[in-house]
Subunit: 141 residues, 2 copies
């Protein structure tokens, strides 16, 4: 960054010097002032563009990992049912069994059964582990 600023400063100084030289030189003595100014304008516009691009840090646009691809093979291989996957998803969102039961309009016991089956199929001992494994396997986003 500092080097870029230095370079830009040097370039600007050189151009100003060049202007000075041209002004009293013999090369463009017969050219019209309008043309002269036009050249200056164009050159400095170019310098400005270059400087602007150099000086600004590249915008880092963080693309979130929203590109989740459902792993249907694993889903079928593990024999997980639709309802179980649904429970798994809500589980991953941090809901309790009771909250999941309320959301799906079923009893708490039903959710407990689903989760128990999930733990067996995912070979997990806890819901956090089940969620972690399910994310690794691409079953949930």
């Amino acid at each position: 960054m500092k080097r870029t600023i230095l370079l830009y400063s040097l370039a600007l100084a050189a151009l100003l010097f060049l202007l000075q030289w041209l002004q009293f030189g013999y090369i463009v003595r017969d050219l019209s002032l309008e043309f002269y100014l036009g050249v200056v304008a164009v050159v400095f516009t170019a310098v400005g563009i270059w400087a602007g691009l150099k000086l600004t840090k590249p915008k880092t646009k963080v693309v979130l990992q929203s590109n989740f691809i459902f792993n249907e093979e694993e889903y079928n291989r593990l024999g997980i049912s639709k309802r179980e996957l649904e429970v798994l998803g809500l589980m991953a969102q941090g809901l309790s069994n009771q909250e999941i039961a309320d959301k799906l309009f079923v009893s708490l016991n039903t959710i407990k059964t689903h989760s128990a089956n999930l733990f067996i199929k995912l070979d997990a001992k806890r819901r956090t582990q089940a969620v972690q494994k399910a994310k690794e396997l691409g079953l949930i986003g």
Copy 2:
């Protein structure tokens, strides 16, 4: 984009016209040519920088989902300690409090305290929710 080009063209035309006007006007008749040229250079440099930034498509540096960027701002804002973050990470891996305690060579009660503090700081009611929020905030991978 097209509108930007049009705007830039108009601005350039306006500036050239201004130059023309200044050149034969009475305002800067007594100013030195060097000063005049300097102003032109500076103005067009600025225009160039602006145009350069506007015209170039924002450099989108796509960060793949695999590399996790730790969000230090959120980490500091929430006042989470090192040890708490450590516990949070192990929690996200699906470990139980007892397993975390064993891995960190501390007592189960210590882990419970850490997790309780985490839940307060993350505004979570359950460990699964804490993990989910922490992932959203970029505290864990």
